[in-house]
């Protein structure tokens, strides 16, 4: 099991300043398909980033087998298989797969996309992090306030970060029967 498999993008809610740098970095590096969505919780606007669930509901829900887990354990969207149906977005228990951007369906919006209908999906920026030990996904590197961290659960505990809901990767609750 590789190190990438264990690390996740964690959000420190006490540091997020709503600048959306994470979403912009993701947008520019993923051909206009940002995999960072936002949710408003009271006064705060929080970034919603894929947890790379060990039992991923999005993989089960995809009718086109576009959502797959790669050798590093990262759940990815196959560019040429995705039909933009949004099944994964609806199945995701954490609501982190964006199906809307700026009020319009994300899959229909990108002028640079290869097809007109696709869903954005976080791939932990494997093109950037592969083979570079200290490299982090772009959203984490772009975060100016230090709210986003690329860490495993043990590192999060060391930094006294409480993982919301007591879990970060949904390895039990959504396990297939």
């Amino acid at each position: 099991m590789s190190e990438v498999m264990e690390k996740r993008v964690l959000v420190d809610l006490d540091r997020c300043i709503e600048c959306r740098s994470c979403a912009a970095a993701c947008f520019h590096s993923h051909a206009g398909f940002p995999a960072v969505s936002f949710a408003r919780a009271g006064w705060a606007l929080l970034p919603m980033i894929c947890r790379q669930c060990k039992a991923a509901a999005c993989v089960d829900a995809c009718p086109a087998e576009a959502m797959t887990r790669d050798a590093n354990g990262v759940v990815r969207r196959g560019l040429f298989r995705c039909i933009g149906c949004g099944s994964c977005a609806r199945a995701c228990p954490f609501g982190v797969i964006p199906n809307e951007l700026g009020g319009t369906p994300a899959g229909c919006r990108s002028p640079q996309g290869l097809t007109g209908h696709q869903v954005a999906k976080c791939d932990l920026c494997e093109d950037r992090t592969a083979g570079v030990p200290d490299a982090v996904p772009r959203c984490v590197a772009a975060c100016p306030s230090g709210a986003l961290q690329f860490a495993d659960e043990h590192e999060a505990e060391k930094q006294h970060l409480q993982v919301v809901g007591g879990r970060s990767t949904a390895d039990h609750l959504f396990k297939r029967r």
Partner: protein
């Protein structure tokens, strides 16, 4: 993909705000680039910086000089354009407005050409509110703090939405707060921006009362700060509590963002903020539009350039605007501009008789004074496209067309030596207009009036309309629903916006992003020659669903 990444020299930076974030350029096509945060040691890159790579090779980039004629636009070469501009100016003086967010060498070269050319005068342009803030800060004698020095402070005063102006300044504040949870964070922001959410002490300042509130905070902290009209402790208890909280600080960081259309007293704010920071052993961090605003101000004053207020009052001269978006920045309607140079079209180029191409700041190398605190030798991210000149080269081309011989540019520590400025006159603000009052707030997505970054695809995709923040009570009274499109109008002008009901915003105040040139027109700048400043005041607006 990693193989296509090319590490730049250590000095390659985004200079759209004082953070000066390091950048990594990545080739994504034969002639297109993307900007990424560095692979190691990245400390942030906001949406403005992330858009830079796309803007450098934008498909709408202005690459050739154009003469605007009745029959249409005619492409000409640069030397012919320079000769035609000089000829069109005729007997009039030439007034050159040079964007101040360029390396200091560019300003020195342009100033040298204009000094050698009797008919030409140079005005180095920075945002009017920033100019007043920095003049006050210079007079205060306070040290300037870079972002990495903020973590050493043991208390903070935040004026305006400093986290939107420079998101990177949040890191040091949060680091300090993590080390000591009792660290006082005082926020003075009538528009209740993001920074105010993190405050331990939010000062309830009314519209245009930043200077008065700051004076009250300083007085409560035991720092002498006289300002006529400053509220007594009983009148502003939140300021008194905030002042007492910071009174014990040994190193106070005061961070200020002088947002458009907020106040006429930014000079007083800069002076008071500097005095307060200096008295409590700390320093001042002015979050200006562009990284080099303080250096531009210092260079401009030392090189004898024309202040903005004087330049704008001279309507008899022929105006040549190089860089920036003068009309968009001032919120002015299209009017006589002889020539405008820009990388991408804006309100000023649309009003100009001659449109010239221009290298972006990210394509120029040179000295930049990041946030007034760190002198950096910045490397260009990319060289400019073939045949696209820098601002200084355009001034040189114009001067040569007028028969001027090459001068010797000034050298020496132009940017690092503090200006000798008198403390501001002690004057408070005028009366606030009737509600609903329009305030402007800075955004992490747009730089300045948005003339450049508005061309970015992420900005266009996520914000097709500017967001209007409105309190829940005002929204209910005006029958405006959350996310509904509304018309905001003042003085016969209007702009469409998307309503965002904001729980923190006080009633009677609505907020638009200052990075929208169309919105700035609702509170356009006025030239106040008597006060010696260019000001945009809060205005009453009408909001209709």
């Amino acid at each position: 993909m990693v193989g296509s990444q090319q590490m730049l020299k250590a000095g390659a930076r985004c200079t759209l705000c004082p953070a000066g974030c390091g950048v990594l350029r990545v080739r994504v096509g034969p002639d297109s680039w993307r900007i990424d945060p560095p692979l190691e040691g990245a400390a942030g890159l906001c949406p403005r910086g992330a858009a830079l790579g796309e803007l450098l090779t934008h498909r709408d980039r202005i690459l050739w000089p154009v003469c605007v004629e009745a029959a249409g636009r005619r492409q000409i070469d640069l030397s012919a354009a320079a000769a035609a501009i000089v000829q069109a100016a005729g007997e009039r003086d030439l007034l050159v407005f040079l964007d101040g967010n360029v390396p200091c060498e560019q300003i020195a070269q342009a100033a040298a050409w204009c000094q050698a050319w009797p008919k030409a005068r140079l005005c180095v342009v920075i945002e009017p509110a920033d100019e007043q803030l920095l003049l006050g800060a210079e007079a205060s004698g306070a040290d300037y703090l870079a972002d990495d020095a903020l973590g050493d402070c043991d208390g903070f005063v935040l004026i305006g939405d400093v986290f939107a102006a420079n998101p990177c300044c949040a890191r040091g504040i949060f680091q300090r707060r993590a080390e000591d949870s009792r660290t006082p964070i005082v926020a003075i922001d009538p528009a209740a921006g993001t920074a105010a959410k993190f405050a331990t002490h939010a000062v309830q300042a009314g519209v245009g009362q930043e200077a008065l509130a700051l004076a009250a905070v300083a007085a409560a902290a035991g720092v002498e700060a006289r300002l006529p009209g400053a509220p007594s402790p009983a009148e502003m208890p939140s300021a008194t509590a905030a002042g007492k909280a910071i009174a014990r600080c040994g190193r106070l960081g005061v961070i200020v963002a002088a947002e458009y259309g907020r106040s006429t007293a930014w000079r007083q704010v800069g002076y008071l903020a500097g005095r307060l920071a200096a008295a409590l052993g700390g320093g001042l961090a002015c979050q200006t539009v562009g990284a080099n605003a303080l250096a531009a101000l210092r260079c401009g004053r030392k090189l004898g350039t024309v202040p903005l207020v004087e330049a704008l009052a001279d309507r008899a001269a022929a105006w040549v605007v190089i860089g920036g978006d003068l009309l968009g920045m001032l919120g002015w309607m299209p009017q006589g501009i002889l020539a405008a140079a820009a990388a991408l079209s804006n309100r000023t180029t649309e009003a100009a008789e001659f449109v010239l191409p221009l290298a972006l700041t990210a394509e120029m190398g040179g000295t930049v004074l990041l946030g007034g605190a760190r002198e950096a030798d910045v490397e260009p991210i990319l060289p400019p496209p073939a045949g696209v000149p820098t601002g200084a080269e355009i001034v040189a081309q114009l001067a040569r067309a007028a028969g001027i011989r090459p001068p010797q540019a000034a050298s020496g520590p132009l940017a690092t030596e503090r200006l000798s400025v008198e403390p501001p006159a002690e004057s408070g603000n005028g009366q606030a207009p009737a509600a609903p009052v329009l305030l402007f707030a800075r955004q992490a997505a747009q730089a300045g009036c948005g003339a450049l970054t508005a061309h970015g695809s992420w900005q266009q995709a996520t914000q097709p309309l500017p967001e209007l923040r409105i309190s829940a009570a005002d929204a209910a009274e005006l029958a405006i629903r959350h996310l509904a499109t509304v018309h905001v109008s003042a003085a016969g002008l209007s702009v469409d916006a998307k309503a965002q009901v904001c729980q923190l915003l006080p009633d009677g105040v609505v907020v638009l992003p200052e990075g929208t040139a169309a919105a700035r027109r609702l509170a356009m700048c006025q030239v106040d020659e008597a006060a010696g400043q260019v000001v945009a005041r809060p205005v009453t607006v009408e909001i209709t669903p």
